[in-house]
Subunit: 455 residues, 2 copies
C-alpha cells in the first residue's frame, strides 16, 4: 500500500514515527492511537485515488485536519492511513452577493474569516480552537454564535465527498434551500468521517453587523444567571452570543487572560445589529438581568475591548488547564432543553462538590449547551476514574431532561456508549446507513459505534 | 391484506371508490393514481401494525395528510395502501419555555398556530396551503417566512418514524442542537415518505414579535424589484418576509382578493422585532427600494390590514386559477443563488412571452425561490406540452445558475427526471440509502426516483 501511495504522492506520504504520533492524538485525554502512515493530498483527485488504494488493501482511512477534536475523532485505533488535508486549504470562490463561499476542507475558520472580512462578511461558527472547516463539518461543530447563526448543520450549503468506493459526489448546489431529494449534506455533516471524506465545502456567510456591543454581567448566583438566559430568549430579544462561566471558570480566565472582572457566576453577552437595535437589546437584557440577581453589566463597545473579551472566552480551555498545570483535562459537553438548564447545571455543581480536582464550567447557554473541564492528575487512576464517573452521570442527567450526550464535541471514541443510551433503536438505523455506504468499514473505523470491527 | 387491516382498524379502513379517488390526487395536474385502500390509524402502534401487514403482503404504503402536495407525492401510481394520518392530529405537548412543541403528523400548521398563540409563540413555516405538519416535514416545505425563520429542515427538532420493517425510532431529543450521531432527522425531512412514515414531530416555535409591519412596494420594472432584494439582504437588514409578484400575478391577486394596489412588479415586505427596530428596518428598506425604481411603499401596520395582505398572498394560487377558469394549473418552483435571481427571472419572462396562456410568477425571493403557475387548457395537448416545456427549460436555467429544480415543492412524480439532472452521481447514493432502509421498496414507490419498480 505504501508503494502505491508513494507512486501517487511522492514524498507526500510519511511513515515517520513523529508524524504518525502527531496524527494519533487530539486535544482529548484519550489514549493515543497513531496511524500506520500519513498522506498529504493536494486535490480531490488524489483523495479519490488514496481511497481506492486503501479500499484495494482494506486499509482504514482517517481524515485529519487541525487535530483539535475533543473525543478522539482523528485517532487511528485500528491503524491505517491518516489523510491530512491541510494542504487542501484553498478558498476557492467567494460569492459576496450570495453570501456564500467555496472552500477546501483544510482551511481553518480564522483563515476563512480573514479572507472574507474585506467583503463585509464573516463565517459565524466559532469553536474554541482554530479548527479546519472540514473537521468542523464532520463533527457538526458549533460555538458561541450558534444561538443566533446556527451550527455547522445550518451553515453548510453543500459538500463534495469521496465515498468509500471512490465515487465523488456533490450533495447540493448554491441555492439557499432545496426540496430536491434526500438531504445528503446533513448526512455527512456530523458523520465524523465514518461515511466519506469531505473534499470541498460550500458555506454560508453572514453580513458583518453594523454595530456590536458586548457585556460582562456577574450574578449573585448561577440560578439567576441561567434564568436570565431563559427570560431573554423568551422575550424574543435577538442575542448573538450568551455565554456562561461559573466562578471557577471566571477565576481561571481572570488569571490566564488578565481580565479584572469580579469572581462570580457570569454571563457574557453580545448583540449584533444596527446601532439603535443593539442599544435597545442591551437595555432590555440589562433589565432582565437586574431582575434575576445581576450585579450590573460592564459594556464593551470598542472593537479592541470586545476582541480581548472573546479571546479570553475562546481561551477558556487553556485558562482551565493553567488552573492545575500538571493535570490532564477531560473535556466534555452536553446540551439540554433551556427549561432544564438551571436544574441540570445546579445538579452538576452539587455532583462536583466533593471532587478532588477543579472542574470549571463554561457554556453556550443560549443553546442549552455547557462544558465541564475536569482537571485530573494523570498519575492517579482514582482521579481519572472519578472524572469519567462525573461525565457518565452528567450524560445520564442530560438525557433524563430530554437532552443530548454532546451538543458540539461529537461521539468519536470517547462517547460511543452514550450514543446507544441516547438514541436506542435509532442506532441500528445509523449502522444500517454506515453499512450501506461503507460496507467494508474503511472510513474511520472504531468511531461513533461500539464493537464495530473491520470485516 | 384488507382482512388483516379490518381486524386491526375495524371500519377505519376503506375501499370505497370515492375515498380512494380522493386519496389518489393532490393539487397538481398530474394524472390521478388512487390507492387500493385507505387506512385511518389513530396511533403510532396502529401505524406500526399497518406497516407490518403491508410488509407481509408486499403492499406499497403511501402517507396522506391534507392532500396539498404539488408534485404528486400522495398519489399511488403502484396502488397499495394510502395511510391517511388526519386522525392523528393531536398537539401532544407544548413546552413554552423551550419554545418547542410535540405534535402528531396529521395536525395542520393553522391548527398548531391557533394552539400556541396564547403562549406568545408561533410556528413559522407557512406554505400556501394549510398542509399537515407531517406532510410539510416530508416535503421539506417552506413558505414566506423562510428567509428569516428557515424551512422545515431548520424547524424540525426530532421525529418519530415507523420504518419499512416496522421498527419505530426517534431521531433525536429536545435539545436545540446535538453532535451525537448521524442526523436522521434531516434524512427523513424531505424524503417524501420514501424512507418511513412520520408518526410524531418535535417542532421549533418562535416568540411572536413585539411589533410587525408590512409594506407593498411597486417597482418600475422587475429587475429593480429583484435588485432591491439583493441589496436589502447584503445590507444585513433583517427581513421576515420578502415576496415578489410579477404584473400578471398582481393583477390576479387584485381581482381575486380585492386589493387595490397598482399593477406593477411588486414586493411584499414584512419586518418583525421591537417597534423601533421594525421602524428602522422599514426606513432602510424603503431607501434601498427608492434607489432601484421603487414607486413608494404602502405600509400596513394594523393586524387586520396585514392579515388581509398575507391572506391575499397565500391565496395567490387560487387567484391565478381564477385568471382562466377552465384551465388546469401546472405549478412549479425553482430556487437559485440570489445573485442569479434577476437574470433567471428575466430570462424566464422572455421565455413566457410567446406562450398562449397566462403564467403568473410569484416567489419567496429572499431565498432565491420563485414559482410559475402555468394555466393551460386541459383539452389542448399542445398547451399541456408547451407548459411542460417551459418547466423543463426553467429547471435547466435554474441548474445552470447553480440552483435547484425545487426550492419547496419537492420531487414526487413530477420532477423525477430533474433529480438526476441536478444531483448526478449523488442520486446513486440516495438510491443506496433507499435500498438500505426499504429493501422491498414498500415506502411510497414510484416517487423521487425514476424506473424504480417493486422487487
Amino acid at each position: 500500500m505504501i508503494d502505491d501511495l508513494r507512486t501517487l504522492l511522492g514524498d507526500r506520504v510519511s511513515t515517520d514515527p513523529e508524524t504518525r504520533a502527531r496524527h494519533g492524538t487530539d486535544v482529548s485525554s484519550l489514549a493515543p492511537a497513531p496511524p500506520d502512515a500519513v498522506a498529504f493530498p493536494e486535490s480531490t483527485d488524489e483523495v479519490r485515488e488514496i481511497v481506492r488504494i486503501c479500499a484495494r488493501h482494506g486499509t482504514p482511512i482517517v481524515a485529519y485536519g487541525a487535530g483539535t477534536s475533543v473525543e478522539g475523532q482523528v485517532t487511528a485505533p485500528q491503524g491505517g492511513l491518516s489523510v491530512d488535508l491541510r494542504l487542501m486549504r484553498g478558498i476557492l470562490a467567494l460569492h459576496a452577493e450570495d453570501m456564500d463561499v467555496v472552500v477546501q476542507p483544510g482551511a481553518t475558520r480564522a483563515e476563512l474569516n480573514e479572507r472574507v472580512r474585506e467583503a463585509g462578511l464573516f463565517f459565524a461558527v466559532d469553536p474554541g480552537a482554530d479548527a479546519t472547516l472540514g473537521g468542523m463539518a464532520s463533527t457538526r461543530a458549533s460555538g458561541t454564535n450558534a444561538v443566533r447563526y446556527g451550527t455547522m448543520r445550518d451553515n453548510v450549503l453543500a459538500l463534495e465527498v469521496v465515498l468509500a468506493d471512490g465515487a465523488v459526489i456533490r450533495t447540493g448546489g448554491r441555492a439557499r434551500k432545496s426540496a430536491a431529494g434526500y438531504d445528503l449534506t446533513r448526512l455527512f455533516v456530523g458523520a465524523e468521517g465514518t461515511l466519506g471524506l469531505i473534499t470541498e465545502l460550500t458555506l454560508r456567510l453572514h453580513a458583518l453587523p453594523q454595530a456590536v456591543s458586548a457585556a460582562v454581567c456577574p450574578f449573585v448566583d448561577l440560578a439567576g444567571a441561567v434564568e436570565t438566559v431563559v427570560a431573554t430568549l423568551r422575550a424574543g430579544i435577538e442575542v448573538a452570543r450568551i455565554e456562561l462561566l461559573d466562578e471557577t471558570m471566571l477565576e481561571a480566565v481572570r488569571r490566564y487572560s488578565g481580565l479584572d472582572h469580579e469572581v462570580a457566576p457570569t454571563l457574557f453577552f453580545e448583540f449584533h445589529g444596527s446601532p439603535s437595535a443593539v442599544a435597545e437589546r442591551a437595555r432590555a437584557t440589562e433589565t432582565i438581568a437586574a431582575a434575576h440577581g445581576g450585579r450590573g453589566c460592564r459594556w464593551a463597545i470598542e472593537p479592541a475591548e470586545r476582541e480581548r473579551l472573546w479571546r479570553a472566552r475562546h481561551d477558556a480551555y487553556w485558562a482551565a488547564l493553567a488552573l492545575r498545570p500538571a493535570a490532564q483535562a477531560l473535556t466534555t459537553d452536553v446540551c439540554v432543553p433551556i427549561s432544564a438548564l438551571a436544574a441540570c447545571i445546579l445538579a452538576t455543581q452539587r455532583d462536583l462538590a466533593g471532587l478532588p480536582m477543579p472542574a470549571p464550567l463554561v457554556g453556550h447557554v443560549g443553546d442549552g449547551n455547557f462544558h465541564l473541564i475536569l482537571l485530573f492528575d494523570p498519575a492517579s487512576a482514582v482521579e481519572r476514574q472519578a472524572a469519567r464517573d462525573v461525565v457518565r452521570r452528567l450524560v445520564e442527567r442530560a438525557l433524563s431532561y430530554g437532552g443530548t450526550c454532546s451538543g458540539e464535541h461529537g461521539i468519536g471514541v470517547g462517547k460511543r456508549e452514550f450514543l446507544v443510551a441516547e438514541h436506542g433503536a435509532a442506532v441500528a438505523t445509523m449502522r444500517t446507513l454506515k453499512r450501506a455506504l461503507d460496507p467494508c468499514n474503511l472510513m474511520n473505523p472504531g468511531k461513533m459505534f461500539l464493537d464495530e470491527s473491520p470485516k
